[in-house]
Symmetry: C2
Subunit: 202 residues, 2 copies
């Protein structure tokens, strides 16, 4: 791993996780292809050769930044799934997502969406990486719902995969809205409607 700190030689003048967060912000705001190396190095406060020595390539940098985004941002929404009931888990997931999508200490929206749904053919891998990240989150939702089904916490015959997909799709749509300027209240009102509809309570 590049995170092991060699004891010999000139020490690194920057913190790897710090500059990854800064890189994530640039990708988040401008997308993978819209984030030029000049913009990245400028925001990260390091020079091109340092970036390449540390991360290897623009794509690898993106992967690392995206992984860190998952640890720091997506993790909060996933943690919200740990509620005693399925209804509470979904509500917490949707509400904490809406909150995170409109927080002001980082760009609006979601890196998994803004990063680049569509790319030039040579960057198609990036779109795949993003899709895989979203799919992982959807799987986490689905697993929480499956557990609820086993516990009798969902109506019989509820399609947990479809419900997980519905929840994720709504969150992704909220991300699109947030990037276009929707407020947290706007999104919460949409969540209200979604929850009213779920009728998970018996």
């Amino acid at each position: 791993m590049s995170s092991e700190t060699p004891s010999i030689g000139r020490p690194r003048a920057f913190d790897e996780e710090t500059v990854l967060d800064l890189a994530a912000e640039v990708f988040w705001r401008h997308g993978y292809e819209g984030a030029s190396l000049s913009a990245l190095t400028s925001a990260m406060g390091i020079n091109r050769p340092s970036l390449y020595a540390t991360f290897g390539s623009k794509e690898q940098l993106f992967q690392r930044a995206f992984a860190r985004y998952h640890e720091t941002q997506v993790a909060r929404a996933r943690a919200a799934l740990e509620q005693p009931t399925a209804y509470a888990a979904i509500e917490a997931f949707l509400r904490s997502s809406a909150h995170g999508l409109t927080a002001t200490d980082h760009p609006a929206g979601c890196l998994s969406i803004q990063g680049g749904l569509a790319c030039s053919p040579e960057n198609a891998r990036v779109s795949k990486i993003l899709a895989a990240g979203r799919a992982a989150t959807e799987t986490a939702v689905e697993e929480r719902l499956s557990r609820a089904a086993k516990e009798g916490d969902l109506p019989d015959g509820m399609d947990t995969r479809a419900l997980a997909r519905f929840v994720m799709a709504l969150t992704e749509g909220h991300a699109v809205h947030a990037a276009a300027g929707a407020s947290c209240d706007d999104l919460q009102a949409s969540v209200d409607i979604a929850l009213r509809a779920l009728a998970l309570r018996t």
Copy 2:
């Protein structure tokens, strides 16, 4: 307008609307920034100077292609709103969208989403154009719902803006899913859940 056909001079060797549809497909698949002029001209079957003489610039070409996308694709979903009841209108909107997002005669997903939610700073206008298109569709949904509210076709006190936002957000999320490979049935199952939740029927 560039659509007026001058009677003198060498005649144009291509049909404007036809090549616009072809350009829209490239933007749809690769996004605005991911669609190179080489890819565009190659798909459209015309040369660069013809493109610039006809459309002016890449951005203007995109605007024209996006406008045509609205006329040919988005118009179908908007037409679906013309159902006798609010519930039927929303169901038709969601189902026809899910169908269009997964049709096989064009790229999966939606140009309004794939085109470029995030762009480099110099292409920020493109993101704005896309957002404006989505907002226009959301307004159309909201107007249909307002009409329903006046007609007593919605529960009292229903927040029509929030409901329109919920419907659009779900559709946008479905577009993200469709671009990642979701099937029409996948999306329809999500629509089922959304509709169950709406409880628009009294």
